[in-house]
Amino acid sequence: MKAIEISGISKNYGQVAALREISLDVDSGEIFGLIGPDGAGKTTLFRIMTTLMLADAGSGKICGMDIVSDYSRIRKIIGYMPGRFSLYQDLSVRENLEYFATLFGTTVEKNYGTIREIYSQIEPFRDRKAGKLSGGMKQKLALCCALVHKPSVLFLDEPTTGVDAVSRSEFWKMLERIRKSGVTVFVSTPYMDEASLCDRLAMIRGGEIIGTGTPEQIISAYPYRLLSVEGDRIYPLLKRLRETEGVISCFSFGASLHLAYDPEKTEASGILAAIRESGLGDCKVREISPGIEDCFMQLARK
């Protein structure tokens, strides 16, 4: 049975279409990533899947249960961590955790095994008010509260937004361990570099899914060829290359430029020639395979 199955989900806010005909399915026990910029409709989709909101059109099932008619049963088996830190700031770590355990009809002791690994890191601060915790600890507490009732599906809405690179990688390690315990994880993020950490992903932009599959599938579907160009005067080079015949796009990626060209219109040698003609000095050019970010940008341009 699929953990999540939704088809044709649409949602409008007044005139603005937040989601257009979204269809997805997530296998049980996988980490599924929903990747897209702010305003793409990620949070709306989360709210519809977690039965917090009704879609204007379309249908969906979580573990075989309908998101509209079976909402109360679904609420028993999912865990949800909203985008903002949403716990009681004036209650202590322990009080928050115990309260949420009680809400789900269980106790912290009964499910201690599920959260032990994460909770042990914040247990020294169990009597501290949640509002006084650091960003990383808040995140861990929120995760504990979402996990304390042993959910079958865990929904995490942008858990790593505004979190620095070190804490982000720590968080993904935690997700990996949660997945191993058999929980399906549905996670959204605006960071493209986190895509490769998902088993499968969907890319969302402007309320539409622009691509879906395993990271490898998405990358192999990339229709162009890609060159990495490194040089001393990157910015003038970028402007020059964009005007070159057959170049689909050219953007900076860290210290280098990623240049996509259509192999039917030009060849790598033509572009190399253009670089030499530009008189912008020596450049290191090599053919590379695209990353998720390249694919997202290409799919988003369509």
Partner: protein, 247 residues
């Protein structure tokens, strides 16, 4: 006034009670340079940036920003810098034009200058038709570009960008950096913080704050060499991973 440096900071310290948020940092930023100011959450970036912008006084230490003293000439600093943050946005219930007018007025520009600048700005951003739309209705990417232009409306010597590209889609993010390049090319100094490590590569020089100190500062190439890392992400993890204090 030293013409070579836009920012000179010596032994800057800021304490809140027992807590030392900024712990004796010193650095210089050259005119027209793009300076990346990195650090983990809680490393003291925001506190340091507030001092540089003339919003808060240091506990000790000295320095100049745009040629003005950070302790004594805060008002002059504010007039000569631009500031844009992800959170600081436009007035959502004013139109694009009204927003530009307002900020032009705040910085004391003449009406004619504001009108000229408004048209130029809308043209440059390619949102000429959107001039009479409410700021709230604009897509996030446009909003960010617009706040960037507004932060530059009084032609400041230095512009401070606090996580300007958070949550924006990858292409818009890169286009935004291209406008940062253009701005720096015109001689404006750019001081920027970001969580995207690939963006750190676009800076001329980068500093990484750890526990209130600057633990590393160099060009991205220099840093990668020093820490024998393939990219800035690895550099950041190595340096910021040494942090002992929590936020």
């Amino acid at each position: 006034m030293n013409t070579e440096y836009a920012i000179r900071i010596r032994n800057l310290v800021k304490k809140f009670g027992d807590f030392t948020a900024v712990d004796n940092i010193s650095f210089d930023v050259r005119r027209g340079e793009i300076f990346g100011f990195l650090g983990a959450n809680g490393a003291g970036k925001t506190t340091a940036m507030r001092i540089l912008c003339g919003l808060s006084r240091p506990t000790s230490g000295s320095g100049t920003v745009a040629g003005f003293d950070i302790c004594r000439e805060q008002e002059k600093i504010k007039k000569n810098i631009g500031y844009m943050s992800q959170k600081f946005s436009l007035y959502p219930d004013l139109t694009v034009r009204e927003n530009i007018r307002l900020f032009g007025g705040i910085y004391g520009l003449k009406d004619r200058t504001i009108r000229e600048k408004t048209e130029k700005m809308l043209e440059m951003l390619g949102i000429r038709d959107a001039g009479d739309r409410f700021a709230a209705e604009l897509p996030l990417g446009w909003k960010q570009k617009l706040s960037f232009c507004i932060a530059l409306i009084h032609s400041p010597q230095i512009i401070f960008l606090d996580e300007p590209t958070g949550g924006v889609d990858p292409e818009t993010r890169r286009r935004f950096w291209e406008s940062i390049y253009d701005t720096a090319g015109n001689g404006t100094t750019v001081f920027v913080t970001t969580h995207y490590m690939d963006e750190a590569e676009y800076c001329d020089r980068v500093s990484i704050m750890v526990d209130g100190r600057i633990d590393a500062m160099d060009s991205p190439a220099g840093l990668k060499k020093k820490f024998s890392a393939g990219n800035m992400d690895e550099v950041f993890r190595t340096v910021a991973g040494r942090a002992v204090r929590e936020e």
